[in-house]
Amino acid sequence: MDLSFSKEDLAFRDEVREFLQNSLPPDVKDRCDRGLHPTREGQIRWQKILHEKGWMAPNWPKEYGGTGWSITQKYIAAHEFGQASAPIATPFGVSMVGPVIYTFGNQEQKDQYLPRILASEDWWCQGYSEPGSGSDLASLQTKAVRDGDDYIVNGQKIWTSYAHYADMIFCLVRTDPKAKQQEGISFLLIDMKTPGITVKPIYGIDKENSLNEVFFEDVRVPVKNRIGEENKGWTYAKFLLGNERTGIARVARSKRQVVRVREIAAAEMSGGRPLIEDPDFIAKLTRIEVDLMALEYTELRMLSMLANGKKLSAEPSLLKIRGTEIQQRLTELMVESLGMYGAPYEPERDYAGRNDIHPGPDYAHGPMAEHLYLRAATIYGGSNEIQRNIVSKMVLGL
């Protein structure tokens, strides 16, 4: 057992740190640090900088444009990105559909889509959930009927993050309505400009539009846009879900949040003394910090298992559960640290009389927005209740 980093690893850390210091645009960093949704333009601008550096896809094999980093290096990079409030690439392209394409796609698909993902020329979104199928994904109803060289797609997707920004959507559709639930599903890549697709915004409790409904009405999708075999889409979907594990705990982001909470609590007063000296406040923060430290070493322990060629079963669910719980506790505490300046809140979209600037101190702009948005963290990507079901079944055999 050994916790130290090699000389090469330390040099790598310095390289990442320097790159972020020099290349991360301040406006992008600022939104990320505050916990605000990225702008489309800012996110793409930053991703193009990452691409230029060759760091757009740390998890891809080198042949497709990956970085070739070791597990330790990936951990170091994620850590530095989090500490610097550098956004990671939007996951739908590089983390989700990308690996499906290079694992199950044909050469033509690889050639067409992978370079565009790396260059941020396509913004992808994910067409999985439907109104009737949340946790029970396999019950999806959107259907695709073969018509010559096309499928005709009809149905509706929901909770589609950033569909209003997207150029492409990857979709699970039912191609065999008679087959059992998980059979009869296919995996399609669909151009968002295809006629018959309508995107309808869903405004969240943060009153922002990051989620959408996507409607498909007689949408023609070329058969060559299908990944792998017809009716085998569930296999690719499961692969994708299993692949969604990297950085799921968001330890580095939470460590940055701890620093922010400390900064705010040092500036805020309570009973005539800095809030950071209040024993109850400190007790809450300390408990989060220790849970976070335990999570960090749990993640490292799992990475060490992977690096030693061992397989994980449902252990990553632990990272998801604890990671999201910690994220929520931290933003809640950050809002709490603001006192009554936690209450003022206006969304960013336009309406008459809205304020651009928070009435309280500068650091009060952000925490409530993130607090609201992060309530979804324990719901999306398989709710924490579903994650506990998975651990119960896969690890404990109950």
Binding site: W159, K207, M269, G271, A343, G360
Partner: protein
């Protein structure tokens, strides 16, 4: 020992319930919250006509002589509908301060107008560095001729936009944190020297920050005895806390009913998700937190009239602590049990979550009141 309502109290409850049912569908409420004013003048007139705006005032000034129990009954019903009108700011806080501290002339000039729905009030007590400490006042009021000159910054004044008059706490002597030396002033909204910054709050209400720059007021603006406002502020804020506890209880009960219905209807894996034991037990815990809060809210409404100051303060602190804890839990878990649907602005549950979130902060959050309770129990 009796927790039951009298006949009159029962009628009051029915009447507010009917108002909420008729005027506060979740669509109507959402529309109102998104409108520029953030509440309805028509509702306000209706409340005046129904006599609610006069409920806690003495009969001599045209009120109905109701007490904290009547306030709690009304607030609980309003909490169920997330009512937006400035009842707490105008009637409980503003009206309370004027009747407790004001001269006969001041009472005469303000309270009947409040009761008739023709005057709104707001209380500007918080400051950027005060957090929840009512005694932490840095805004100054210096004697100047017959009157005073006020300077300072007042933060997050709920309904400061709509109020006709702002009641400002300012220091006439002493240092920040001294209980002695705090005075109250009646300031016209729009007075020269007063700069207002309007904004929305996360719970769909309206608030404002005020900057006071050499704001001149006459001697008649002083509300109560110079430098002796702190005990009055404390007393009125205790009542406001009691009212907020009741509002939170109504909001929690409604949030629980909405959530309970939702998990009975929503199906996953072929069964209503309310059949999953983990969600059942979560719902039971939410129900228990709301029940415990209801008991504390009733208790504090009955104890607000106690002479024994320590016992009264202890009750207030305990009630707010319990309600704050419950409000967070119920609000957050309501979202969780709704899944994605709970995250949408269109669906009602998120609005309950957000109001419960701010109630938890208002007049001292959970930790603050636990600490206060501990000090009073030592």
């Amino acid at each position: 020992m009796d927790f039951e309502l009298s006949d009159e109290q029962g009628m009051l409850k029915d009447s507010v319930e009917r108002f909420v049912k008729d005027n506060y569908s979740s669509e109507a409420r959402a529309k109102l919250a998104d409108s520029e004013a953030g509440f309805s003048e028509d509702h306000w007139k209706m409340m005046a006509e129904l006599g609610w705006l006069g409920m806690p005032f003495a009969e001599e000034v045209g009120g109905f002589g109701g007490g904290a129990v009547e306030t709690a009954i009304m607030m609980e019903c309003m909490g169920r509908g997330l009512v937006l009108e400035p009842f707490l700011a105008t009637v409980i806080l503003g009206g309370g301060l004027v009747t407790e501290a004001g001269s006969a002339d001041q009472i005469e000039a303000i309270i009947p107008a409040v009761i008739e729905g023709n005057m709104k009030l707001a209380f500007a007590y918080a400051e950027p560095k005060s957090r929840f400490d009512l005694n932490n006042v840095e805004t100054t009021a210096s004697k100047s001729g017959d009157g005073y000159v006020l300077n300072g910054h007042k933060s997050v004044v709920y309904h400061g936009t709509a109020a006709d008059k702002i009641i400002v706490s300012a220091r006439t002597s002493g240092n920040a944190m001294d209980e002695d030396g705090i005075s109250l002033f009646l300031v016209d909204n729009g007075a020269s020297g007063l700069t207002r910054r309007d904004y929305r709050t996360v719970d769909g209400q309206r608030a404002a920050d005020f900057t006071l720059e050499n704001l001149k007021v006459g001697a008649d603006a002083l509300l109560g005895v110079e430098g002796k406002a702190y005990p009055v502020i404390e007393k009125v804020v205790e009542r406001a806390i009691g009212a907020l506890c009741a509002e939170a209880v109504g909001a929690m009960q409604q949030a629980n009913e909405i959530t309970n219905e939702y998990i009975k209807e929503r199906k996953q894996f072929g069964v209503p998700i309310g059949k999953f034991q983990v969600l059942q037990h979560r719902m039971v815990d939410m129900y228990m937190e709301a029940e415990q809060s209801k008991s504390m809210s009733d208790m504090v409404a009955m104890k607000l009239s106690l002479e024994d100051e320590k016992e009264r303060k202890r009750a207030v602190a305990a009630a707010k602590a319990q309600v704050g804890k419950a409000a967070k839990f119920v609000g957050q878990q309501s979202i969780q049990l709704h899944g994605g649907m709970g995250m949408t602005d269109e669906y009602s549950i998120g609005h309950y979550f957000k109001r419960l979130t701010t109630i938890e902060m208002l007049f001292g959050n959970t930790d603050y009141h636990f600490k206060k309770f501990a000090e009073l129990s030592a």
